[in-house]
């Protein structure tokens, strides 16, 4: 077997797997539809406004409800001392 055939077959296999991953994503998304709908219902019922990703501080737990300069709300020189502060951008909002 020629080298090129072997390598092209490998690449084709990789591309096939890439396509398979897309297919798999679609299937899993489909499977998650019910769950997502359930969660949406919870959001609606409880009137939630934020994801529960960073629970350490008020301004990271409810990002969208925080004040514009939240990290400094306790004191103008107060440092943002929670690590997620480095991951979360300051709230962007039109005043």
């Amino acid at each position: 077997m020629r080298h090129s055939d072997r390598v092209l077959a490998l690449l084709a296999g990789g591309l096939l797997l890439l396509a398979a991953s897309g297919l798999d994503a679609g299937l899993r998304r489909q499977a998650a539809v019910a769950e997502l709908r359930q969660q949406r219902a919870t959001v609606q019922a409880l009137e939630l406004t934020d994801l529960c990703l960073f629970t350490e501080a008020r301004y990271t737990r409810h990002l969208s409800q925080a004040d514009l300069h939240t990290p400094f709300q306790d004191h103008p020189l107060a440092f943002d001392h929670f690590p997620s502060g480095s991951l979360v951008s300051p709230p962007l909002r039109r005043e």
């Binding site: 020629r2 080298h3 090129s4 072997r6 390598v7 092209l8 490998l10 690449l11 990789g14 591309l15 797997l17 890439l18 991953s21 897309g22 798999d24 994503a25 899993r28 998304r29 998650a32 769950e35 997502l36 359930q38 969660q39 949406r40 219902a41 919870t42 959001v43 609606q44 019922a45 409880l46 009137e47 939630l48 406004t49 934020d50 994801l51 529960c52 990703l53 960073f54 629970t55 350490e56 501080a57 008020r58 737990r61 409810h62 990002l63 969208s64 409800q65 004040d67 709300q73 929670f82 690590p83 997620s84 991951l87 979360v88 951008s89 709230p91 962007l92 909002r93 039109r94 005043e95």
Partner: protein, 377 residues
Amino acid sequence: MQHYLARQRYLIDYTVASLLRHRSKNLGLLLVYTLVVFMLASVMLFTHSLRQEAEQLLSAAPEIVLQRLLAGRQELVPASYLEQMGRIRGVSERHGRLWGYYYDPVVRANYTVLVPRDRPLAADEIVVGAGLARSRGLGHGDFLSLRASDGRPVAFRVADTLAADSELISADLILMAEASFRDLFAIPAGYYTDLALSVRNPREVRTVAEKLTLALPDTRPILRSEILRTYATLFSWRQGIVLVLLAGALLAFVIFAWDKASGLSAEERREIGILKAVGWETADVIGMKFWEGALISLGAFLLGYLLAYLHVFYLDAGLFEPVLKGWAVLYPSFHPVPFIDGLQVATLFFFTVFPYTVATIIPIWRAATTDPDAVMR
């Protein structure tokens, strides 16, 4: 066309043979490259999936949340505001929300305490989120004691836990009755945390918000579209930050690739000389070298991407958990739903394959223009 393809196959033949001869060196390169792609792809897939999920879930959030600001801080809203705002056309429903935070010194975590509107609870009953239940070891019928604002302990019976599959939104929630909430935090009757308004027609939301700020100048409306926008920018911003950080790694890798491509050994130089002497043209050598780069970068891209896919969606992005957890004690356990879009994959491809190939153009050209008669000298 056929001739062109046949020629490319021959060039690949030669490239593969020459890659195989320096197996360990090229395998090392492939490995490092795959790792770089894997990290980038993991971040992209994970944040994109979170962003999509946020968008889907939070599109059910209240259309307008009205906060009252007092000296720049959020303050309780008197119920009278609901009357004061007057009749605003388009607002189909308005009511006060009661929610707040509770710091639990036992596990040093912040909980979100919330009064549900459509779920009647007895005064001593609470419903807790699955994450909280896990970290405090609570089950149905257990008791949780919370300290009221005046210092006395109040015991609540866990009537229910929220579904585990909704942890992404509800891991740290405690739901309780309105009376218990007011009692626990000493919030006088007639005051709410904020107000929620529903607006039927999405086109009217902005006008409603403008009218609200006019009618109630000390309030601030937060629109649903702003919430969605906050999350959209949050995640792409984060992706960007991680990319900027990883760009260093990428740059180092590109320099490595450049160095590898330009630091041709005497042996390789001699080989190219031989190829040219026996009838290969500069363009053939460039094509051959191009395939070398293309095979390595394509291979690394496919491998890295597929590994990242497995990592994020089958292993629940295990490697990122510590990063996301930060100092948070309550971390939701959730399975990201695979939202993938072509832009993500195309960007990733651009980010990883393009710099590598560009970095090697000039070294390749240098090597390919070796004099064909060099072998005769």
